[in-house]
């Protein structure tokens, strides 16, 4: 048993094993990411005509995943401890959701202001109000999506007996990353037209 464990542990550090496990996932994710790339490409004129919008893109790609990861790992810990309840009256659940929404409000307000400053310096300037509206509306929508996906993924782990740390957190993070650009683009079109 001990020898088999050592073999397993050694085997998991071979190049073939690491690449073999990881590369198919990366291929699948890249294909999915082309969906958000397609949205960028379709809206090329909007983005290249208002380069300040491009300032928002990396944060929109990463931040939904960050928020989802924070909530998912907190829910996952409670699941492991056996104290997680899927009940709309569960106070701790709401506490977590409120904290995530507060974090999103802070981060995306700061992003709107920062993008405005950057726009003044290096890119075509856009109105502060417009940028704040785009950043906060798309950011809060993304936060709500991240919360919904985290809850759904943790619930699936819970019912299927999966470990959320291994399965659902990467799924939530990557889905939020992909949706970030889609949500930003949708909001930007509505606000700018």
């Amino acid at each position: 048993m001990g020898a088999a464990d050592a073999d397993d542990a050694l085997n998991s550090w071979t190049i073939r094993n690491i690449v073999g496990t990881m590369f198919p996932i990366l291929i699948g994710l890249s294909v999915l990411e082309m969906g958000s790339g397609y949205v960028l490409e379709e809206l090329q004129e909007t983005y290249l005509g208002n380069p300040t919008l491009l300032v928002l893109v990396p944060v929109m790609i990463g931040m939904g995943g960050n928020l989802g990861a924070i909530l998912s790992s907190r829910l996952s810990t409670r699941l492991h401890l056996g104290v997680l309840e899927f009940d709309v009256r569960d106070e701790v659940l709401w506490t977590n959701i409120i904290a995530i929404l507060g974090l999103a409000a802070t981060v995306f307000s700061a992003l709107g202001v920062a993008a405005w400053v950057v726009g003044q310096v290096i890119a075509e300037p856009m109105a502060l109000g417009e940028l704040l509206l785009i950043s906060i509306s798309s950011g809060m929508s993304l936060a709500v999506i991240a919360i919904g996906l985290s809850l759904a993924a943790t619930y699936v782990s819970y019912t299927q007996g999966l470990d959320p740390d291994d399965t659902t957190i990467p799924v939530v993070t990557n889905l939020c990353d992909i949706l970030g650009v889609v949500v930003l683009s949708g909001v930007a079109i509505v606000v700018l037209n």
Partner: protein
């Protein structure tokens, strides 16, 4: 009342990490919105299509490396220093292979999608060169930067598990777009 206090605690604990990631993202965004970069996007159609894949997949490659190294340190399977240790060399080589192959793959994919749709596209050799140059530079910097920071934090008694996420996001955002900018600039001169 108690609920409100603990929401505030979660907020306070999580905010610093998000601010670090926000700062990296804003820097990356400023490079993306700069004149040189937007000129490159116009000159090489297909770059915008592959941009999200380029930005997002790196988190998975180097996050996985960071998690593996961190577990290895905790289990005593590797030492917190650069050495020709078999496991460390394997993990680093595998990350190079993953990081560079995926860069090549998204260049081909982006070119293929535009061709199938009958859209204007940069030549395959142009997209491939840009992704290869930025992929090699980003992999090298991220792998050695990540290992250095993880080893240093472990030696200082910090748990790398708490630091890998933000380190990868920030280094990835900052260096990813800088090297993309460099690769686009080289491509504009060469092609």
């Amino acid at each position: 009342m108690e609920g409100r206090q603990s929401a505030w605690r979660i907020y306070r604990e999580s905010l610093p990490i998000l601010v670090v990631s926000l700062a990296g993202g804003i820097f990356a965004g400023s490079v993306l919105g700069s004149d040189g970069m937007t000129a490159g996007f116009e000159r090489f159609p297909g770059m915008l299509l592959l941009l999200p894949a380029f930005l997002a997949t790196r988190g998975n490659v180097y996050g996985a490396l960071g998690a593996r190294i961190s577990s290895g340190l905790h289990q005593g399977m590797i030492d917190p220093e650069f050495s020709w240790d078999r496991r460390l060399v394997n993990a680093v080589a595998a990350s190079f292979i993953n990081g560079i192959s995926v860069s090549v793959f998204i260049a081909v994919l982006s070119w293929g999608i535009l061709h199938v749709l009958g859209r204007e596209s940069a030549r395959l050799v142009e997209l491939l060169s840009i992704m290869l140059v930025s992929g090699v530079l980003t992999s090298t910097t991220l792998i050695f930067g990540l290992l250095g920071l993880v080893f240093a934090s472990y030696e200082y008694g910090l748990d790398p598990d708490n630091l890998i996420g933000p380190i990868v996001t920030t280094l990835g955002d900052v260096f990813g777009v800088v090297f993309l900018f460099i690769a686009l600039t080289i491509a504009e001169v060469v092609f």
